[in-house]
């Protein structure tokens, strides 16, 4: 299955819906600019209602942008109908044709393209083998399990050799174990075909584990574009930091930035050399220190920036999670490699310090 992969470019794409009853305008997507390189898998990540699915539907041709341009390769596809562009979508509800068996579902797109009988037969067989459904070719979709239906939907999209594969929360209807399995599967198939793919999800773990790059959206506006490492370790805002992983924030004052990029600030009356700071953050402006559970430690009173009492501890084998109730809220501290260490028990008073190289200064919201 040779797919010629192409890049996708969105420039200044805006989508405004009109509420039919109140006539109010809803800005579903606001000035979206990004490009997806050929062969890359990019995830649109955000809470529900952030505009990620609308963005995907505009790329697929199911919605028209109010403003802006969408390019697939060099072709302007902004106003082309879905059947006029080389994209294939895997829908959240799969959208399998209930009156056709698996084979006919997969063959549908090829029949529309009026391919010969033998070619359809060959291509459907190949793709069904790729997704591991060769034996179920003549079963009705209603009699397949969720994971199998998902594979049919994927096969049906892949068989037409689209330039771009669009996946709209494809795993949200599966149970946790199956979801993990399919995630690996989708990534494997996408890599082996080298196809450009855009993936929509609200599940950060899915986004982190699948993507080459992640686009975080909120209220129709793109917050950050970057590799999973970028958005986890170097988020640009408190929202992104909070959305992609567990995090604690401590109000701080930025004093200055060193030549190496480390930021000097005071937090809880202590001077801290944070690992990095968000761009454009000036000294004196309100800031916070963001700390992931793994960059927090339990320390002696004099090294602490915060304190509290333990409310719960969760033993996970390779680590222990300690939930600490502080003045600013509940904070999760992760203790790695716990064997031999003294683990505080519930109700005990503890002091929290930072692994300074791993924390980051962000503008306060």
């Amino acid at each position: 299955m040779a797919t010629k992969s192409v890049p996708v470019t969105l420039s200044h794409v805006t989508k405004i819906f009109k509420d039919p009853t109140s006539k109010a305008e809803v800005h579903a997507v606001e000035d979206a600019n990004f490009d997806v390189r050929s062969g890359e898998l990019v995830t649109l990540l955000g809470p529900s209602g952030c505009g990620k699915t609308t963005t995907l539907r505009m790329i697929g041709g199911f919605e028209l942008p109010t403003k802006g341009k969408i390019l697939i390769g060099d072709t302007d596809v902004t106003y082309l109908p879905p059947n006029g562009r080389q994209t294939a979508t895997v829908f959240q509800s799969y959208g399998l044709f209930p009156h056709m068996d698996v084979f006919d579902n997969v063959a549908y797109g090829l029949k529309i393209r009026k391919l010969s009988h033998t070619e359809i037969e060959n291509r459907v067989r190949t793709v069904l083998e790729l997704v591991g459904l060769a034996e179920l070719a003549h079963r009705a979709p209603g009699r397949l399990s969720g994971g199998q239906q998902q594979r049919v939907a994927l096969a049906r999209s892949l068989v037409v050799e689209p330039q771009v594969l669009l996946l709209d929360e494809p795993l949200s209807n599966l149970d946790a174990l199956l979801r993990e399995q399919m995630r690996v599967e989708i990534r494997r198939i996408q890599k082996s075909l080298g196809i450009t793919a855009i993936y929509v999800t609200h599940d950060r773990i899915e986004a982190m584990s699948l993507s080459d790059r992640v686009i975080v959206m909120r209220n129709g506006v793109i917050q950050q574009i970057g590799t999973p490492g970028d958005i986890y370790e170097r988020p640009v805002s408190m929202f992104v930091a909070g959305f992609v992983g567990k995090v604690a924030f401590f109000p701080a004052q930025l004093e200055g930035i060193e030549a190496g990029g480390r930021a000097i600030c005071t937090v809880g009356g202590k001077r801290v050399r944070a690992g990095s700071a968000a761009e454009g953050l000036g000294t004196g402006s309100p800031a916070v220190i963001m700390a992931r559970p793994e960059s927090l430690r339990l320390v002696e009173k004099e090294d602490a920036i915060s304190s509290g009492t333990v409310t719960a501890r969760v033993y996970l084998g390779s680590s222990v999670e300690i939930y600490v109730k502080t003045e600013t809220g509940e904070i999760l501290v992760q203790i790695d490699d716990p064997s031999g260490k003294a683990i505080p028990s519930e109700g005990e008073a503890v002091w929290i310090g930072l692994n300074e190289a791993l924390v980051r200064v962000l503008p306060a919201e």
């Binding site: 028209l64 994209t87 529309i112 393209r113």
Partner: protein
């Protein structure tokens, strides 16, 4: 989408089309004018040649001419007019006045010159007298040698026909251009041209066949002698006879609706809330009156209770019993309409979560208390809505009162008599519009009040349990009641069948097969044309309603609400009004359809479209839109999606829409009674004619035939739908 390049291409193509069209239509018009001119010149020459030899009798000859040539006016001159020695001889003086007009001087001089050369002269432009356009010609009357003109004859020919033709050609040209521009515009600018065309076709159909006829009907009632006036309405609203009919309709509606809702509720309660046996049979029997042909129940009521009725005359020996009138009508309407209330109430009761009643019983309330304090209040909005539904149906009913009203007056029959008996179309139209008033009121009450007050608790699935809500005694009484009513229905249908085999009902009850032969021979033509036309209308209505459903459910476009209400309109208005508005709109150009089979087919399609649409919409709402999006995504255009995805998935709705269209077309009366012709007759009208002539045996045979056809169609439908039942499950399971 609009881009500069597309706009330019669109403008250029439209301009080329307009130019081409202008050339074609002006050529047509010019050649028509030329032929007309040639004809009239020849005619003028011939008339002038037949002038009396003596100039003295010219005047009297001229005055005689209009009686031979209708639509022409004549005026004769002695000598060549305008030259010396010429004088008016006589004729239509209006013409000579015109001749004297100073603005005509130039043309008059040319005319005179032509006459002196013995040429016929035609005025270059038309002249208007008293609002009528005329072509003006002057023809010389040659003298004996044929070398000079001894007299001249001025002829004015009525040209209103030509003017109307010209206007028609122009309208046609404009309509063609608009259609072309719309079609080409959609193809150029739309992302989904096929849906665009479908919307265009649907809009054209409803504008031409729903909006336009209704507009014509309303217009006719507001016009008197070409001017706007309320005279028609004043007559209608001040005439006792008409007001009596209005009151009669409302009275009948109230009686029928009340009794029907009562019986319907008893039935629904027995089926939905008790452990009565034989529920399926009871339901099937109760639906019979809904689908059975018109006149059949009336017929059997007449056979049982009429002047020669088997019960009234044979068994009870009553001499002066009169079934015709309010009582008989209410009886027939109740039997034919209580199933509507039953089916509505059954739906309402099933939608009420019975755990509420269980909770009440559990709290130690008695069955009666539970019924009166839980079930009944929850069902109250449903009761009102089924009352209103029966009420509007009773008002719109035409077939039953037509046979059974006697001297009792109802609006639907009154408007029919006005139109066909008295030829007072305007009064008929006004009366049938009057019928809309209570119907609309009922509709608004339903919309505003019932829907807001609805307590129906939707739990997703009807609960499966059934604790008997009626005490054993009450249940027995209820069952007894249901059995009696069901028995009555069976008896009525058996009476019709019996009527087929009896020599002369009421007089001679010997067994015979003569009726069957005679009825089928005499009704054969009507039966064939009814089946043919219903057969043509069925696929059209089926496909059109499914297309409309897809467009209204899945597409967004301006004017969607208007299109939807126009499609639904024929459902809300009485058939009599539809029929009257159709004859008003289609007995003249541009759509001269009265007397053709087409008008019947169109009427069937228009009237059954709403039912199919509702079914299609309900079916489509069950289907996940991403199924269609997936198909589009894989490269299918809208037509392919419709054919390969939508139609197979909504097959049950499609099939039942088609069978309803067929059955309802076969059993139509109220609208088509105005539209039938000798060539295209309808079987139900034939039944009516037989009954009117007291040939009840023949009527029974045709009614029975229709019942058999209807049952066969529904049986077939059941069979076809069952085959696709697996679909319904998988579609919703997704």
């Amino acid at each position: 989408m609009f881009t500069k390049k597309k706009l330019i291409v669109f403008a250029i193509v439209c301009a080329i089309f307009a130019a081409g069209e202008y050339w074609i239509f002006s050529t047509i018009q010019a050649s028509f004018e030329k032929n007309a001119a040639k004809e009239i010149t020849a005619l003028a020459r011939a008339i002038a040649a037949s002038a009396p030899e003596n100039n003295e009798s010219l005047a009297s000859w001229t005055e005689q001419l209009p009686s031979t040539y209708h639509g022409y006016r004549f005026f004769a001159f002695k000598g060549v007019p305008g030259e010396e020695g010429s004088e008016p001889a006589g004729g239509d003086s209006a013409l000579s006045e015109l001749w004297k007009l100073p603005s005509n001087a130039d043309i008059a001089a040319k005319a005179a010159e032509s006459v002196s050369y013995l040429e016929v002269f035609r005025w270059p432009s038309r002249v208007t007298f008293a609002g009528v356009p005329y072509t003006l010609i002057i023809a010389p009357v040659p003298d004996a040698e044929g070398s000079s003109a001894r007299a001249a004859l001025l002829i004015a020919a009525d040209a209103s026909g030509y003017v109307a033709f010209g206007r028609l050609v122009q309208t046609l040209a404009v309509v063609t251009f608009v259609l072309f521009a719309l079609g080409f515009g959609i193809a150029t600018f739309s992302r989904d041209p096929i849906s665009g065309y479908a919307i265009l076709v649907l809009a054209a159909v409803v504008v031409a066949f729903v909006a336009y006829p209704l507009f014509e009907a309303v217009r006719l009632t507001l016009i008197k002698q070409g001017r706007f006036s309320f005279d028609v309405w004043k007559t209608i609203l001040s005439n006792r006879q008409y007001l009596q009919a209005l009151w009669g309709s409302i009275q009948l509606g109230i009686v029928t609706a009340t009794i029907s809702t009562f019986i319907g509720f008893m039935y629904a309660f027995a089926v939905a809330r008790t452990s009565m046996k034989g529920k399926k049979l009871v339901t099937a029997l109760a639906t019979m009156p809904v689908i059975s042909p018109p006149f059949s129940l009336t017929l059997s009521i007449i056979l049982l209770f009429g002047k020669n009725g088997i019960i009234t005359k044979q068994w009870l020996g009553l001499q002066n019993f009169n079934i015709y009138g309010l009582g008989g009508l209410a009886l027939v309407q109740t039997i034919s309409m209580f199933p509507i209330a039953f089916l509505t109430m059954q739906g309402v009761l099933q939608a009420i979560d019975s755990t509420l009643e269980d909770a009440s019983l559990d709290l130690n309330a008695s069955r009666w208390h539970t019924f009166s304090h839980v079930t009944l209040p929850l069902a109250a909005p449903g009761l009102l809505s089924s009352w209103l539904l029966v009420f509007t149906n009773s008002l719109a009913d035409f077939a039953n009162p037509l046979l059974l009203s006697g001297s009792y007056r109802v609006l639907s029959v009154e408007s029919y008599i006005e139109v066909t008996g008295m030829s007072r179309l305007n009064n008929g139209a006004a009366l049938s519009l009057l019928l809309l008033l209570p119907t609309l009121t009922a509709f608004l009450v339903q919309r505003r009040w019932v829907s807001r007050k609805s307590f129906v608790v939707v739990t997703g699935k009807p609960s499966t349990r059934l604790s008997d809500l009626a005490a054993p005694g009450a249940r027995r009484a209820l069952t007894g009641f249901v059995v009696v009513v069901s028995g009555l229905i069976v008896a009525l249908y058996l009476t019709i069948v019996a009527g087929c085999f009896v020599k002369n009902w009421g007089i001679d009850y010997t067994f015979t097969l003569v009726n069957i032969h005679e009825a089928l021979t005499r009704g054969k033509q009507a039966l064939i044309s009814t089946i043919t036309l219903a057969g043509i209308a069925t696929p059209i209505a089926g496909v059109l309603s499914m297309v409309a459903a897809v467009i209204l459910v899945r597409k967004k476009f301006p004017g969607k609400r208007i299109l939807e209400s126009l499609i639904m309109t024929p459902f809300a208005i009485p058939g009599t009004l539809v029929g009257i508005s159709f004859i008003l709109a289609f007995n003249k150009p541009p759509l001269l359809l009265v007397g053709t089979g087409a008008i019947l087919v169109i009427n069937y399609v228009i009237r059954e479209l709403p039912v199919g649409l509702e079914g299609g919409v309900a079916a489509l709402r069950q289907i996940d839109p991403s199924i269609e999006e997936a198909a589009a995504d894989l490269g299918a255009d809208q037509a392919t999606i419709f054919r390969t995805i939508i139609l197979p998935l909504i097959r049950p709705a499609f099939i039942s829409s088609m069978s309803y269209t067929f059955v309802r077309s076969m059993t139509a009366v109220s609208a088509i009674i105005f539209l039938i012709s000798a060539r295209w007759y309808h079987i139900t009208i034939q039944i009516y004619n037989f009954s009117e002539n007291l040939r009840f045996g023949l009527a029974s045979v045709l009614a029975t035939t229709l019942i058999i056809i209807v049952l066969a169609v529904f049986g077939l439908m059941r069979l076809l739908i069952r085959q696709s039942e697996f679909l319904e499950k998988t579609v919703t399971a997704q």
